[in-house]
Amino acid sequence: MFHKFVNAIEVLALIGVAVVVVLLFANEPDTGSTTPSTPGAQIYAASCASCHGADGGGGIGPQLAGGAAAERFPDVADQITFVTDGSGSMPSFGGRLSPAQLRQVVEYTRTL
């Protein structure tokens, strides 16, 4: 009885794998309509969105949207320094982005 139950669970697991594989390909986003328009938005999508969310709503990293970024860093220069140097779980982007890119992405986060 228990053996048959375990067999059934294994079959369900296999079905689960199939569902995940189908979803990975069936749920592909329409890249044509979601390509960020500005350089800051493009940098944000590539470097920040995985932690702070596509819309800045937060995730692993804190929320940036709704004025949260500007509220925490009233002076934009302080936010650029923070993003450049990193702090705690926030990685340093100084070695990955140019000063111009850092300013673009920081300014973009303040518009979310």
Partner: protein, 193 residues
């Protein structure tokens, strides 16, 4: 005497061929996941949160549950191989319990892996993220090897416990580079659940 104990050459060759095929299939799974993660355009969305604050919290707790089940499965496996003697008399259902716990651990990783692949893709923004991405692909590849090792006859006897140990080590590595990192390094204001 040594000649009578040695395995026939054709048996060894067949076992080697099977072993190579199993390893190649596992490698193909790992590479396929990596290629998908790299080629796919990440959505950065949270497809489900269920009863957690966000998908991130769901992922770290599901990964932790999978690790707990994996620890239980290793202990059950050690009892199956008589490496531990608790309980003194192994019940007849021990093998099925080992399979069930392992299957549940694997199933619990699926929503985590789906969100990783679909929403985040294969990233290398820092060492932790790169190691996590590589381990994620490796885990499902070596898990495939383990499942095939159970099903394919004639493989070396030691293969199953060794591959099982590697699967467990990969899962521990995944947990350390994700859930443990989240629990210990999450920014202030980000809830744990």
């Amino acid at each position: 005497m040594a000649e009578t104990l040695a395995a026939p050459a054709h048996t060894t060759a067949a076992a080697t061929r099977r072993l190579v095929v199993v390893l190649l299939v596992g490698g193909a799974v790992a590479v396929a996941l990596g290629v998908y993660g790299k080629a796919h355009d990440p959505t950065h969305e949270q497809p489900y949160t269920w009863f957690f604050t966000s998908t991130i919290q769901l992922k770290v707790w599901f990964a932790s549950a999978a690790l707990a089940l994996a620890i239980a499965q290793v202990l059950l496996g050690m009892r199956l191989y008589d490496k531990i003697s608790i309980p003194r008399h192994a019940p007849s259902w021990l093998g099925d319990a080992h399979r069930l716990v392992g299957t549940l651990a694997f199933v619990i990783t699926l929503p985590v892996a789906y969100q990783c692949l679909w929403a985040l893709g294969f990233q290398s923004t820092d060492t932790r993220v790169l190691v996590h991405a590589l381990l994620g692909c490796f885990f499902y590849g070596v898990f495939t090897v383990k499942v095939l090792s159970v099903r394919v006859k004639g493989l070396p006897d030691r293969m199953l416990p060794i591959v099982g140990g590697v699967v467990f080590a990969a899962l521990v590595g995944l947990w350390v580079t994700s859930a443990l990192w989240f629990f210990t390094s999450r920014p202030a204001g980000i809830p744990a659940t």
